[in-house]
């Protein structure tokens, strides 16, 4: 698994987010079609999470279009033991975050835009790629 290899710049960014926001346990960066790019995981199967997060984001975006509530911000799944949050990185990649019940949602909302921006840069996207998302 990628979490066992040398930390990459992407993984370092994910680790930094985990240390800045209380309650984040694991995270995954994937392409919009669900292929794993980088992972900061311990227990979850990173490739499965990547595939599922792409499906979640796609459904969320189509739902947002259908119901006319404006653009999609993020897709949140609330479970008995915690949360998953899926955020788009431009229109070609995404970030999935797994958190426990105490996930500091306010801090996540505060920190995630900058993280998304840096991940996009690391993935070689231009600012224009981000604004179209």
């Amino acid at each position: 698994m990628s979490s066992q290899t040398t930390p990459t710049a992407l993984e370092a960014e994910l680790k930094s987010l985990r240390e800045r926001v209380m309650g984040i346990a694991e995270s995954v960066v994937a392409t919009a079609d669900g292929l794993l790019v980088a992972a900061d995981t311990a227990t979850v199967h990173a490739e499965s999470a990547a595939a599922l997060s792409a499906a979640m984001l796609g459904l969320g975006q189509r739902t947002a279009n259908e119901v006319g509530l404006g653009g999609l911000r993020d897709v949140v799944t609330r479970c008995n033991g915690g949360y998953t949050v899926v955020l788009a990185i431009g229109d070609r990649a995404l970030l999935m975050i797994l958190g426990d019940e105490g996930l500091d949602i306010a801090a996540l909302h505060r920190e995630s835009p900058a993280t998304i921006h840096r991940l996009a840069e690391l993935l070689g996207m231009t600012p224009a790629d981000l604004t179209t998302a």
Partner: protein, 314 residues
Amino acid sequence: MTGEPGLDTPSAPPAAHSVPDLLLTLRQARFTGSVLVSGTPGGTIRLEQGLVTAVETPGAPAVETLLLKSGRIGEAQWAAAEAAAGSASPGGRPADLGAVLVAQGAIGAAELETVCAAAVFDGAFALALGRPGSWQAAEADLPARIALRPGVEPGRLSEETARRVSLLTRLGSPPRELAAVRIRPSAQAGTAVARTSARHRDILVAATGRRTARDLAFALGRGVFAVMLDLVRMDAGHLLHREPATAAPGVPSVAPRTPPSGPPPISDGPLPRRIRGEQPLGAAAARTGTPAQGALSAPAEPTAAHEKSEKNAR
């Protein structure tokens, strides 16, 4: 937010320099509502007649987590109680979830009260570990879904919090520093595990090197203070290895961090693709660049850092 005049502006009243001060003032006013504390972690302190009935914060497990993660209450029982509490008072406020749980026989009243009180003290302890932010009182908030009734005197709460902080400090682990440390079992823990208690063994299993004391508390459904006390005791028994904190929490690193080889430029091309059996693209690209510093993959290093933390613990 409809705070009382003079109470909803944190810096204005000279009487309240701190949250404990504010709580004492609100106790005299027999205030019912919430105090919203911002900061890392922030939280919500619920008050009834000025008594603290619940503290909700990302920094410590809530009653719900303590009940569910510890297995005291099953998920099905919990869902049933939520459904009953929601429908109990049509149009009005939802019924107290704790009372419903007791009425349904999911937990005894005394046990629930113990857990609620523990959560209040633990939440206050976690708030005390955070960096202080601003705060404001709000009267209109709904009460906590599970609350300790009657609540704790705010004076007693801050006394107990101070006692907990000073106890850990006296034992050699100031809790604000301990809170930032990520823990994993030491090299010696493998042989010693048979002799440790089940409580410590659970911690050893859950300590992956990624979790702080707060994360362990959530994972195990225990209080943060209780976990910290166990960590200090286990540290004295050479069972733990403290991962050094990489960066000060709350300070995002903006330094250039692209490795020499860098991830491949993909701005114009298709999405990064991975061939089955190979490492993910980014991992493969950077392996040539950055030296191995993996906290997870590196073999156990029971040397310098560990001995240092041992000394500190004494």
